[in-house]
């Protein structure tokens, strides 16, 4: 293999991985070839089930049974020659010497990749001592240096902390430090920022990119987000159903893609860069009016001594929602956006403030004062669409029962009439009514979300609260669901309260946006203005941290940084 250029550290040739399942063989990876070069970042991008994670794990021979490499070579440069990792026994000494020492791996879930019972430092020190044979004291110094490298403040003290004392971003930094412990020349990062907030994501990507440049490592970055690809990749390979459908330099993929799938993927991502709603919508008078809404979760009362600290999840939230309008609520995790949505439905009781709802007949009612019957009527007008398309449908009921349940409870339809109404609703959300008798497990994530929407529409509502309704979906499915919701808004005159962490989705979908931070609405205004000219510093940092799906206009690396003042 001397014909490979000198800078190629790892070459994958015709790699195939099969999973032999009970009834069939799943060809998870099919004939995949790519190179990892010194100092370059290669991105494997694809939607869920495309085989991108399996490919990366196969490089370290970490594919679990019943997965099996059926053909291909994984050539790792070893001095002058190459070692074929595909030939090594998957549990042997030879491959263990490669793991961590030559190839470092960063996982997606910072929560579950660290042991909860060992200190952060001791976990990294273990990796250091495995690879270098340093003694305890020297390893400690080395770990502190590594922690400093990954920009953890006060590394000497953080060494003795436990994982639960670290935030998600800090944990991911610790994992990166661990991956660097063996001084590998190849780094594999499997969706390293998917579980993180957008500002943290930007910081972690910054860090990875900087470390890679400093150490001249070759990096393989697995992601589903075209925005991240544009921000950090040098080379891109687009995967679909186990195959690489297209690969090349990042600029060519983004500006001159040949494969229709790549174009579709880019289209779905770029679409969210503009607004999908026309102008200013809405009536003169608000349909829902929230003033000074707040929620305090009381601290646990102790048996002896005083109470623990109270937690103010939402403070002084005020906004209006007009008929036919979409209002986006944007914020990072823990900002209180979900609590706000649930308070409006009163599945979480507000601690303070008012919620006023204007009924169809024009009468304004106080939602907080509603009794059981009043609340039931209110819940017919204000419906919720959930985030998780799997957990939100009862697995024991057929689709007809799921969609028809609200109708049956309200006594609006039974028997033949119910069938007809359910069929109507299924057609409305783009599902085949013939599938009415099936159970939810027979549907894909996108179809399940459509079922959830049909259930929300069953009672002919006026307001729909969509809580992260698209964040569990793949990019292409996400834009379909967004378009479906927009079309339903046109046809049925719905108002949406759209809760999301993803700013591009909100920009596409909403007329107005409210930005939440630490339980407060920091800024509220027209979506176009918030996304292009935000006023508040926090909003500015949030907007600029969103990856831009254009390698010629990288946004994240020149972002506005928000100095936290507590």
């Amino acid at each position: 293999m001397s014909e490979l250029p000198e800078q190629v550290l790892l070459a994958v040739r015709h790699l195939s991985v099969d999973f032999t399942l009970r009834t069939h063989v799943l060809h998870a990876v099919r004939d995949v070839s790519f190179d990892l070069k010194r100092g370059t970042t290669t991105c494997l991008v694809g939607e869920s089930g495309s085989g991108k994670s399996v490919s990366s794990r196969a490089l370290l021979r970490l594919v679990d049974r019943p997965g099996r490499i059926t053909q291909g070579e994984i050539l790792l440069r070893d001095g002058a020659g190459f070692t074929d990792l595909a030939q090594l026994p998957p549990a042997g000494r030879a491959i263990r010497a490669v793991r961590g020492k030559r190839i470092g791996l960063i996982f997606q879930e910072p929560m579950s990749s660290l042991s909860p019972v060992h200190t952060i430092g001791s976990q990294i020190a273990e990796a250091v001592r495995l690879h270098t044979g340093l003694d305890r004291r020297a390893a400690r110094l080395r770990v502190i240096e590594l922690l400093r490298h990954v920009e953890i403040a006060d590394p000497g003290r953080m060494f003795d902390r436990y994982a639960f004392e670290f935030s998600g971003g800090m944990r991911q930094r610790a994992i990166i430090a661990m991956a660097l412990a063996g001084e590998p020349d190849i780094l594999i990062a499997d969706e390293p920022t998917t579980a993180l907030d957008v500002t943290t994501q930007a910081e972690i990507l910054d860090l990875i990119k900087r470390l890679q440049a400093e150490r001249g490592m070759a990096m393989l970055l697995i992601t589903h987000d075209m925005g991240i690809v544009a921000e950090v990749a040098d080379e891109v390979a687009v995967m679909r159903f186990g195959r690489i459908v297209e690969q090349g330099p990042v600029d060519r993929i983004f500006h001159d893609a040949e494969h229709p799938y790549t174009r579709r993927l880019l289209g779905a991502t770029r679409k969210l860069e503009q607004s999908g709603v026309a102008g200013r919508a809405g009536s003169a008078e608000p349909i829902l009016s929230v003033r000074g809404l707040g929620k305090v979760f009381p601290g646990r009362r102790q048996w002896f001594g005083s109470k623990g600290g109270d937690f103010r999840a939402v403070q002084d939230a005020s906004f209006d929602l007009y008929a036919g309008e979409s209002l986006g609520i944007v914020g990072e995790s823990g900002s209180g956006k979900t609590t706000l949505g649930r308070m409006i439905l009163r599945t979480i009781e507000p601690s303070e403030g008012t919620i006023e709802y204007r009924q169809r007949n024009g009468r304004v009612i106080d939602v907080r004062g509603l009794g059981k019957e009043g609340l039931r009527a209110y819940h017919r007008d204000v419906r919720l669409v959930f985030q998780d398309p799997f957990a939100s449908l009862n697995p024991r009921l057929t689709v007809k029962q799921v969609i028809g349940d609200p109708l049956a409870i309200a006594g609006l339809a039974q028997g033949r009439g119910l069938d007809r109404r359910v069929a109507e609703l299924m057609e409305l959300v783009g599902l085949d009514p013939a599938a009415m008798e099936r159970y939810p497990h027979a549907f894909s994530g996108g179809q399940r979300q459509r079922i959830g929407i049909a259930r929300a529409l069953a009672l002919d509502p006026r307001i729909i609260i969509a809580d992260e309704a698209t964040s569990a979906l793949d990019v292409s499915i996400r834009s379909q669901i967004l378009d479906l919701l927009l079309e339903l808004q046109q046809r049925l005159g719905l108002s949406y309260l759209f809760i999301a962490h993803d700013i591009s989705v909100v920009r596409y979908f909403c007329h107005r946006v409210a930005v939440m931070h630490r339980g407060r609405i920091v800024e509220i205004g027209e979506a176009a203005r918030i996304c292009s000219a935000p006023v508040e510093p926090y909003t500015r940092s949030l907007i600029s941290a969103v990856p831009n799906p254009d390698p010629r206009a990288k946004r994240m690396l020149h972002r506005h940084r928000f100095a936290e003042t507590v």
């Binding site: 399942l21 060809h27 159903f241 040949e258 229709p260 957990a391 409870i409 008798e437």
Partner: protein, 392 residues
């Protein structure tokens, strides 16, 4: 991109889903299969669980048709055959002309008396076989107390001759027949005990998990108090309180209550945990927002999601009940003769001399208990795995 790569790409564009190679034809599209069918399918694939399930079923069938399957009545004592050993079955017996002809038979016994120890020993006597057959007429009985019958599955052609396939006990009663009748009592006391604890467990567990708050606290403390009681002394005390004059049926009923009294706690905890988890599931919140009443939430949405797990837990609880009954009866404070259960049978094997002279008194009932408990455990484990939606 090279030409061949483009070609491959255009092929890939037509693909609708992940690449699969079918290993066998699926009989039915998975789409319209309900969750129960899925569980049944998963269960059917676990061989050990299926075999264990077959054994459980077999034991219950034996219990149901005890009168027909047993060659004799459980209480027919024949003092001349005290501790008679098991008789082997031979396929041939001597015909009238002296030549062996095909036909099932067992040997009779020749009694020899040890003149020093004055102990009788039985030696099988091959020369005078007892012809046996299937569907023979034997002692009269009423099947399930209703249908008067005389036919037994297997037995000697002439009812007066000895027939002890698994040996005889202290009073010359047939151990096989007693085992078969014991199966009925032991297996049913497991079920009945579980039924009582199931009701208690589900009601209290559901209340505890669904409402939370002080209801939950109260029930949980109650469970803790009950589980903190030392089992054997409590049973002893309760069983000792049963008046000796009570009929066997009411003793049976009270024993059922006693063994289930402690079994319900684990079930209640299980149900509560599931309720707590499901109460905050999205689909339950969705149903609540759909306007569903609490009754509807519990019975239409939460309980159906629990049934498969409850079933598995129940299956695993039955053997505990069987063992509890056996222990009580073995100690002489549970069921008492003339009721026959495996525990009552084991009572006969309490001293070493009996075990030395007649080991079959210990072996067979003990084997039955072990087989039943293992079968239930394996079946329950399989059921639990099959009911787990995250399995496989």
């Amino acid at each position: 991109m090279s030409e061949s790569a483009l070609l491959a790409a255009s092929v890939a564009e037509d693909e609708e889903g992940p690449a699969l190679t079918a290993l066998r034809r699926s009989r039915k599209a998975a789409a319209s299969i309900g969750p129960w069918r899925l569980i049944a399918g998963k269960l059917a694939r676990q061989r050990l669980a299926m075999a264990a399930g077959a054994i459980v079923l077999l034991l219950y069938l034996i219990g149901a048709f005890a009168e027909f399957l047993a060659p004799a009545l459980p209480d027919t004592a024949r003092p001349q055959y005290t501790f008679a050993p098991p008789q082997p079955i031979s396929l041939y017996r001597k015909g009238p002309d002296g030549k062996p002809v095909f036909g099932l038979s067992v040997p009779t016994y020749r009694v020899s008396v040890d003149s020093v120890a004055l102990r009788r020993t039985f030696v099988p006597d091959e020369t005078r076989p007892v012809p046996i057959g299937f569907f023979v007429r034997g002692p009269a009985y009423r099947l399930w107390g209703l249908i008067p019958l005389e036919t037994h599955l297997i037995g000697p052609l002439s009812p007066s001759q000895p027939f002890y396939l698994l040996g005889a006990d202290r009073l010359g009663r047939d151990v096989l027949s007693r085992m078969i009748f014991g199966t009925r009592i032991s297996m049913s006391i497991g079920l009945a005990g579980v039924a009582v604890s199931l009701i208690l467990g589900i009601v209290l567990g559901a209340l505890s998990g669904f409402y939370g708050g002080w209801v939950d606290t109260l029930i949980q403390r109650l469970i803790e108090v009950v589980s903190a009681m030392p089992t054997i002394p409590l049973w002893l005390g309760l069983a000792a309180a049963i008046p000796l004059t009570w009929s066997p049926a009411s003793v049976y009923f009270v024993i059922t209550l006693i063994v289930s009294l402690l079994g319900w706690t684990s079930l209640a905890r299980e149900v509560r945990g599931r309720f707590l988890a499901l109460r905050n599931e999205d689909f339950v919140t969705a149903a609540r927002l759909d306007g569903a009443s609490e009754k509807r939430l519990i019975f239409r949405h939460i309980l159906p999601s629990l049934t498969s797990h409850i079933l598995a837990v129940v299956t695993l609880a039955v053997p505990t009940m069987i063992v509890a009954e056996t222990s009580l009866s073995f100690l002489g404070i549970g069921l008492k003769p003339p009721v026959v259960s495996w525990g009552v049978l084991l009572q006969d094997a309490q001293n070493i001399r009996t075990v030395a002279t007649a080991p079959w008194l210990l072996i067979w009932p003990a084997l039955a208990v072990v087989a039943a408990v293992l079968a239930f455990n394996f079946f329950g484990d399989g059921l639990r795995d099959a009911a787990d939606p995250y399995g496989e």
